[in-house]
Every structure is written in C-alpha cells, then in structure tokens.
C-alpha cells in the first residue's frame, strides 16, 4: 500500500517537475547563481565574525561551517518544499479546493508535490555538500551524518505540517496573506546556532517550532558535540512533537472542511 503510494507520488513528481523543468531552464540557472552568491555572503559573515575575535561557545570556524551547511540545507528545503505548505491557504480562499477535493488524491499532497521545486532542492544539496567540504571536517562519521539527514527530513515534515495548520485558518478567517510573511520571517532563526539564543527561544524552537532540529541539532550530532543520552532525547522530542502536530493538523483540517463554503454559490 505504502509502496504503491510512493510509486504514485514518484510518477506525479516525474510528470510535474521534469516536464515543468523544460519550460524553466533559465529560471533554474538564475536561481543557482543567486544561491551561490547568498552562500558566499554567509561564509564571509562567519569568517569576519571569527576573524574579529568573537567566539561562539565552543564552536570553531570549521564547526560553524558545518552548522552553516545544515542551515543552507534548511533554506533550500524551505524554498523548495516547506514554503509551499504555508501558501495552501490560497487554495482554500480562492475556492480551488472544491476542484481538488473531487480528485482521488489528497489535495495537500498534490499541492506540495506539484509546487515543490526540484531544481532548488538539488541546488541546496550541492551547496550543502560543498559547504561540508569547505568545513574540512574529517571526523564526520557516516552514522552521525545519516542520522542528521534523517533528523532534518523529520523536522521538515514537522514544519510543513505546522505551516499547513496555519493555512487552515483560511477556513475561518479567509485571506491569510500574512501567513507567508510570518513563515518566511521565522526562518531567520535558522541562520544562527541556537546556542547563542536565550533559554526561552531554545524551548520554543525545540518543543514548538522545530528549528533546532534543522541546523543546530544535526550539526551537534555530526560533530558529536552532544552525549548519546541527549541525542536520543532530542530525537524522541522531535518524533513526539511531529505526532502531536499531525493529530492537530488532522483535527483542524476536518473541522475546516465542515466549515468550508467554497465560492460561486
């Protein structure tokens, strides 16, 4: 059942993304250029910070570059997949939901699959690998690396679910333009290691919004900066919060559908 569903998604993805790519080659190349410039800017920022003598509680420049690699991976995930979830409100508001509800595929899944940008994600992965190479961190363990990627994937699903929940407010409120702004502005917290933020911010970005699990935590896992106990605790927290958010997501979606009135009479 699950395999069949995955095959279906893969086929949809192949149709939408690869076919769409032929129309947007120039767009993809421009995007790659802008991402390279953005990454160079980010590297320069941290280089200047450490060059000026500032220290980030126990993080060397190379270690910061590992963090930056995960941070950049998050931004690529956000541009290619997650940001799409926060724009789902428009489907509800514009009345297009009624068309999507009459098709035999979950309209949220369809929305994400059809709007995600594979080229942005590929650019992001390339950038991630290059940044890890720049970090020149030779003791990155394969096991830790794979675990960190899994953590980032779960955190991405978690944030996507949260963005969807925000989008459902459109069932009650209608136009939800500021949701995109809020979602985009929140990502700024992923630019800096969470260790520099206050305790309250750490709690919020660990237990409510999963930003800790996008860059700081995976970097800590890869660099073996946390104990096994804390690692297990972090992973468990991530999975539990994902479960809770999914339950809330399901509940609000159902309530929203009951309230949905569509447009045009």
């Amino acid at each position: 059942m699950c395999l069949k569903r995955l095959k279906k998604i893969a086929r949809l993805y192949k149709i939408s993304v690869f076919s769409g790519f032929q129309y947007f080659k120039a767009d993809t190349i421009m995007e790659l250029i802008s991402e390279v410039i953005f990454s160079i800017g980010n590297i320069l920022f941290w280089y200047c910070v450490t060059d000026m003598g500032y220290e980030l509680s126990g993080w060397s420049l190379n270690q910061i570059f590992v963090f930056v690699a995960y941070s950049e991976l998050f931004f690529s995930l956000n541009s290619s997949i997650l940001g799409v979830c926060s724009r789902f409100w428009y489907i509800i508001y514009s009345g297009n939901l009624e068309v999507l509800l009459t098709k035999p595929i979950d309209c949220r899944l369809r929305f994400v699959v059809l709007n995600m940008k594979l080229s942005t994600l590929i650019n992001g992965i390339i950038k991630f690998v290059v940044l890890l190479m720049i970090a020149n961190y030779s003791i990155v363990s394969i096991r830790g690396f794979l675990l960190s990627i899994l953590i980032v994937v779960i955190a991405a699903i978690n944030l996507g679910v949260i963005y969807f929940i925000f989008s459902y407010a459109s069932f009650w409120i209608g136009k939800m333009d500021p949701i995109n702004e809020v979602a985009d502005s929140l990502t700024i917290f992923n630019k800096y290691p969470l260790v520099v933020l206050s305790k309250i911010a750490k709690v919020i970005f660990t237990y409510i919004l999963p930003f800790y699990f996008f860059s700081t935590f995976p970097a800590e896992v890869v660099l073996e900066k946390i104990s096994l106990k804390n690692g297990i605790y972090g992973c468990s927290t991530l999975c539990i919060t994902l479960g809770i958010w999914m339950l809330i997501n399901n509940l609000i979606w159902r309530k929203g559908l009951e309230r949905y009135e569509g447009i045009n009479g």
Binding site: S16, G20, G95, L97, L100, L101, T102, Y260
Partner: protein
C-alpha cells in the same frame, strides 16, 4: 444510484440555499439541473460530490455518504466545475492528462483508448503539446472535459460545460455525453441553459427555485413550456419614434443606447408585424432570435410553471 435525503444548506451568513430536498437519480439517467442564479444548483452539485457539508440531511452515492465517505465516492465521479481549472498551468496538455491517468490509476491501454475516443469528439489532439497556460478559454474547457471523462466515471457531473465552446465543440460534447450514457452506462447530471441539450440528451429535468424543487419531470413535458417563449436581441443605431419605442422599452429585459433584449411570450407571434413595428421605432442594425439559450426566458417559464402547479 444517487439518493438525496432531507438536504438543506444554510450558509454562515444565514442564507438558506437549499430547503429539505429529497430526490433520487437512478443509474443511467441524464438529468438537466436548471434554475435561476442563486436557486441552489451549484450548492446542490457541490454537496452531491462531497465538497460541502450539508446543514441537515445527506447525499448518498451507491449508499455511501458523499461527504463523510468522499474518498470512496470520488473515483466513480467525473466532475467539471466550469471556470475552475484542475490542470497544472505550466505543463503541457498531454502531461496533465498523464497526471490524471496516474491519480485515477488508468492503465496505459485504457488511457490511450479513451483519449482517442474523446479526441474523436472534441478534437484536442493539436493541443497535446501546448502548455495549458497558452490555451484559449474554449480549448481549456475541452481539456478539462477530457480529464473528467478519461477514467470512465460512473457518474458525470457537468456544471455549465458549454461555456466558451464553439458550435462544433458543443456538438462534439453533446454527442460524447450521449455516447457515455448509452455505451458506458454513465449517469449524467448537467447544469446547462442550452435547450438543445435538454431536449435531446436529458431524460429528466429538475428545476430548482429558491432552494426547492419546482419541477421534476421529463424533458419532453418541460420542452413545451420553453417553446412558448422566444428571446430576441435587437441592435440599433438610433431611436426613430420615441412613442413606439416606449412600448418596447416597457417589456425590455436589458436595454442600452444601442442594444435591447426582448422576450416574446407567444411564439406564434407575427414576426413580420413585429419587425415592421421595430422598424418604425428604431434604426435596426441586426435582429437575432436567441433560441438556444434559456437564460433570458427562464423567469417567464418559472412563472408559468408556478401558475400551473
């Protein structure tokens, strides 16, 4: 079979759109759903396909509640909401159709067979490689119709399917609907104002008025009402005789400086005499009889049906 039981819908602003509706639509029927704007046609269709939750009552499709069991009902439905695209605008028509093939789980052989069949009626082959966003409105409607019929749905629901279509495409769609009903035993529910559709392919007509069923019967019976009226559209450059023109203004549906639409209640009227009178009143540019569209005469038909009840 579709069963509608005690169906009501009250919107959030306390507007009652449907009132305690009870209907059954049997397999193989072709039903025309008619009514003035705001009569509840679209709301009924949306509740029928499980998109809107009824305030009271329910719609059952093959004994499944269409709202709470939407996932079970949807694979058997082909739904066209006109003017709301279900295609991905940046992809070509063929890629879009492959997308529908995937989500409906249609085999390659069936996909090709059905596409060829639909193409023979709607002539969309030339559009396959064009991106959807580059199509005209009429071409988009044809593609949407194709996607609706591609999986041989048991129930086909079409909301104003002919809007934007040229004469040949309308005829093609019309024959295609007949084919699906006769050969594939599909049940069709069509919201339309095209008299040709209603008379030739619909076995049953349901007229909604202010959320209730005003008429539910055979299309041949209702056809007699429609045939009594005729809508005329007259374009003119100027008014010649104000006094005579006034007579027309009193019965005009829409009128402006250059154009007027009139409904003649008795189809046996003397057209010659009417044209003479019109010529006295206006400097006429054109004179068109709008026989194929019911919208203009609908209010007169409703009035007469109500009087005869």
């Amino acid at each position: 079979m579709i069963t509608i039981k005690n169906l009501s819908k009250v919107y959030k602003n306390n507007t009652t759109i449907l009132k305690d509706l009870n209907l059954s639509i049997h397999d193989g029927e072709v039903v025309a759903l008619l009514g003035e704007n705001g009569s509840g046609k679209s709301t009924l269709v949306k509740m029928l396909v499980g998109v809107l939750k009824p305030t009271t009552g329910a719609v059952y499709i093959d004994s499944f509640n269409s709202f709470s069991n939407r996932k079970k009902v949807i694979p058997n439905l082909g739904v066209l909401f006109n003017q709301k695209p279900s295609f991905i605008v940046d992809l070509s028509v063929y890629d879009n159709l492959m997308f529908f093939q995937t989500i409906y789980g249609i085999s390659d052989e069936e996909f090709k067979k059905n596409l060829d069949l639909i193409n023979s009626y709607l002539n969309i082959e030339d559009l396959y490689n064009k991106p959807y966003r580059k199509l005209s409105f009429g071409q988009r409607v044809k593609c949407e119709i194709t996607s609706v019929l591609l999986h041989n749905p048991k129930y086909i629901v079409l909301d104003e399917p002919t809007i934007g279509l040229d004469y040949n495409s309308k005829q093609g769609l019309y024959e295609l609907c007949k084919y699906f009903n006769k050969e594939k035993k599909s049940t069709l529910i069509i919201i339309t104002h095209e008299i040709e559709y209603i008379e030739d392919i619909c076995s049953r007509v349901i007229i909604l008025d202010k959320g209730t069923v005003l008429y539910d019967g055979s299309s041949s019976d209702i056809g007699t009402y429609f045939k009594k009226y005729e809508e005329l559209e007259i374009s003119y450059t100027k008014i010649i005789n104000e006094e005579v023109a006034e007579k027309f203004f009193l019965v005009a549906q829409n009128i402006d400086k250059e154009k007027g639409t009139f409904v003649v209640a008795d189809k046996n009227f003397n057209k010659q005499l009417l044209i003479q009178e019109l010529n006295q009143a206006f400097d006429i540019k054109s004179f068109v009889s709008k026989n194929d569209d019911l919208r203009g005469i609908f209010k007169y038909v409703l009035k007469e049906i109500k009087e005869n009840r």
